[in-house]
């Protein structure tokens, strides 16, 4: 059922009968016009039952084409669809841009960590990806971790170490909501995998703060962002040109910061992507060699059977 609906949608798009939201507003007059045209040509030919059936069929077909691609009434509720950016790690054989991951971590630390936790990411995971062991140790040591109890039964704070997780800005969700007007800044460790089309969505969201359309206003404390489902997001525009200074001298405009932090979040959500792709190359190579052997072996053993001939002969 689903495949036939998408087939109609593809045919409809191909025939120019519909588009998702954009020209359906313009073309919505076209659908009833088309079905009227089909029924009128059918009934002009002959006023018989056949012509009526043809008209009805024409109407149904036009209706299916039209209905399968009418604008979703909930497009604001779903948020503006994020466009596809050309990420350097898009291709099946591409790795992450690790320099970008390093810059992105700096952006996270200086801009996002004030509100967003990444409690499932540990300092040791950064070693060899975007920092050396010494750099990661230094960064961890700048944070404070509550540990304990000690021998006296008391909790104490100590410097962070490589096996600690990233520090959270709030103790728990309730505290986070209280500090942010009831809105919870979600944990970002898996956010890229947790949102549809994660990297494109996150980048569009971060750079997509715009004036609301005519007739829409958001209440005090919320900000308009078309990519956010519903349009009213509690987070203000955080990335500004020059807000962060990069160690490698890259000019830190807002889009650059957004790209880097999105790459960092994409890595965080799927850190083993590079390994998996290398394994994929090895697997494809191995499988193709084995297929070659298997094909030869199969055809060798089937040769006598494939070359059998049966002769039909008369009895007597």
């Amino acid at each position: 059922m689903r495949s036939s609906v998408s087939l109609f949608r593809t045919l409809g798009k191909g025939l120019g009968l519909c588009a998702d939201a954009s020209s359906s507003r313009v073309a919505q007059q076209a659908v009833p016009a088309l079905s009227a045209a089909m029924s009128s040509t059918a009934s002009e030919a002959e006023s018989s039952k056949g012509a009526h059936y043809a008209a009805a069929l024409g109407g149904i077909v036009a209706g299916i084409f039209g209905a399968s691609c009418v604008a979703s009434a909930n497009e604001v509720g779903d948020g503006l669809h994020a466009p596809h950016y050309h990420w350097s790690h898009d291709g099946v054989l591409d790795s992450y841009d690790h320099a970008s991951i390093r810059r992105g971590h700096k952006v996270y630390q200086q801009v996002c960590a004030a509100c967003h936790s990444m409690q499932y990411l540990h300092w040791r995971q950064l070693v060899g990806v975007c920092y050396t062991e010494e750099e990661a140790k230094e960064l961890a040591a700048e944070t404070e971790v509550e540990d304990g109890p000690n021998d006296e039964g008391e909790m104490f704070t100590r410097e962070g170490r490589l096996f600690d997780a990233f520090p959270s800005p709030y103790a728990n969700e309730a505290s986070a909501r209280f500090a942010n007007g009831g809105a919870y800044p979600p944990d970002l460790t898996l956010i890229s995998g947790g949102r549809h089309d994660g990297p494109n969505y996150i980048f569009s969201l971060l750079t997509g703060y715009r004036d609301p359309p005519a007739g829409i206003s958001v209440r005090e404390g919320l900000y308009y962002n078309p990519y956010f489902p519903g349009g009213a997001i509690a987070m203000p525009k955080m990335l500004v040109d020059g807000g962060v200074e990069y160690d490698d001298g890259t000019p830190a405009n807002a889009s650059q910061q957004a790209k880097d932090v999105t790459t960092f979040l994409a890595w965080s959500s799927y850190p083993y992507q590079d390994e998996m792709r290398v394994m994929g190359i090895k697997a494809c190579l191995m499988i193709s060699i084995l297929i070659a052997f298997a094909s030869y072996s199969k055809r060798l053993r089937w040769a006598p059977i494939k070359s059998q001939r049966l002769v039909m002969d008369v009895v007597n």
Binding site: A21, W87, G231
Partner: protein, 101 residues
């Protein structure tokens, strides 16, 4: 039809000129060293893309005019707004990352 020497020369020159200008245009764009600027390239790209989205912009403007006289407070132009920004996004997105490191 007999082509004179002048005609043949003219045609050859036109072909050569067209090919040369095409090649120069491609050469200037391929492998260009992009200057990474402190200034965000995205707003500039979106401005340049507005030229390609005039129909959607006009529809949005028309809607905004229409709802000025609305009294219910329910009318809005989100649809036309989305169409316009979708057009801009699809124009600007393929180019943006060429300007970022």
């Amino acid at each position: 039809v007999v082509f004179s020497v002048q005609d043949r020369l003219q045609v050859s020159f036109d072909c050569a000129f067209t090919t040369l200008s095409w090649w120069l245009a491609v050469r200037d764009r391929v492998g260009k060293m992009v200057e990474y600027t402190e200034e965000d390239p995205k707003p500039q790209l979106e401005e340049e893309c507005k030229v390609h989205c005039v129909r959607e912009w006009a529809a949005y403007k028309a809607c905004a005019e229409r709802i000025k006289s609305d009294t219910t407070g329910q009318a809005h132009c989100s649809g036309q707004y989305f169409d316009f920004w979708k057009c801009i996004d699809h124009c600007a997105a393929p180019q943006l990352f060429h300007h970022l490191k």
